[in-house]
Assembly symmetry: C2
Homo-oligomer: 237 residues x 2
């Protein structure tokens, strides 16, 4: 394979959530040949995994790989354990400190897997949907984390050393508000009915409506003047 | 937990090979409380995994965790596929280029898992047995790779950011020859009969005697003036 093929291939980390689905659409619109990677790390939200498969079909990715890793072995997060997810936190609290939904070293692991696959298929690009604005304050969503991983990736592999092919880590949502993300995706044709954001869905898969992820999503659609196609449970008044 | 406990805890990546077993002994002798992590990534050498368990018992680690990850999903290495391992390469070839036993992004993944566990148990130290001297030329064994991972780790986690606890990546074998590694381990009481280095063992688990790993190991024992306790098949003359 020559450099120009590698320049077109991109591994896209696709959780099935709002952000990563928008990233897939952005990578598609930029003309990349898409290799979607979904990592099942034992999260509570099982609907996300189904959404990822539907989205991969919708956008006709070249290949969609789904791998399972067991972060429950280590524990340390309410997303991968039986500890309760924090609910109905005031907006001022979201972003003020790292909540218990933080999964230890999650994005380091996800990017490491993406790097492994990128090297095997000689893809010069990795896309990840991290965001530093409307975030819950996760350390591994910050620009300096992405920059450090980029440095690492370009030292870590046979592709980037002996074969002298650069790998670029793209985080196109980095500086967008949730509303901007939703507007961008909508313009590119994303069907947000095929996405799931909730940290702790109700039995049946509906979003709970009151975890940080649901609150940020709902506020994003409001601020974008668009309607979230998902059904939320009626709020108690 | 306070800082001083974290200062004593170390996650040690333990494959069951000669290098990582020596690293475990080095960490033990330095007074760390040991948490051994063995990652089964589908490698051909199944004996290694048993050696890791025996070594963890021998050194009375606080906890030995074994996790399975499926790098066969991605392929790209003779260690995790059915492609033949290169054998009987002349010493001049070993180190001249990256051989097909290279596993894409392997050390990035291993360190990412170690980081996840370190964060959960609040360990301030990770030990890995990479070596830049008597190596087969893997990019993710070089000092600049370890330095880049150290930078990443200290940006990546809640422990290293919000809780302001540094994490140190130790690679004590980095600048040692194989002979020095063997001498160091022998002095510390390592039983090298409990280690396995071969990339492609014979049925029954005996080392093949002619892959890069066997050749480097045999030369190391020779140069250290010590006897390798493993049985190698008789060489054809």
């Amino acid at each position: 394979m020559n450099g120009s093929d590698a320049d077109k291939r991109a591994v896209v980390l696709l959780s099935g959530g709002l952000d990563s689905t928008t990233v897939l659409a952005i990578a598609k619109s930029a003309g990349y040949e898409l290799f979607a990677l979904s990592v099942d790390y034992g999260q509570r939200n099982r609907t996300e995994i189904e959404c990822a498969a539907a989205t991969a079909r919708h956008w006709q990715v070249r290949e969609h790989k789904r791998i399972s890793i067991d972060l429950r072995t280590f524990g340390g997060s309410s997303l991968t354990s039986d500890a309760p997810v924090e609910k109905s936190r005031p907006e001022s609290a979201i972003g003020a400190s790292i909540p218990n939904t933080y999964v230890p070293a999650r994005n380091t692991l996800l990017l490491a897997y993406a790097l492994a696959w990128a090297e095997v298929i000689r893809a010069g690009h990795i896309f990840i949907g991290v965001n530093a604005v409307d975030t819950s304050g996760y350390p591994d969503c910050r620009p300096e984390f992405i920059a450090a991983f980029s440095t690492l990736a370009n030292l870590a592999t046979k592709m980037t050393t002996e074969l002298r092919q650069r790998i670029v880590i793209h985080a196109p949502l980095q500086q967008m508000s949730k509303a901007e993300i939703i507007r961008t995706g909508t313009r590119l044709g994303v069907d947000y009915a095929l996405t799931s954001s909730c940290y702790d869905p109700l039995p049946g898969g509906s979003p709970c409506g009151c975890c940080d992820a649901c609150l940020l999503r709902q506020r994003g659609f409001e601020q974008a003047d668009l309607t979230d196609p998902l059904d939320y449970p009626a709020r108690e008044s």
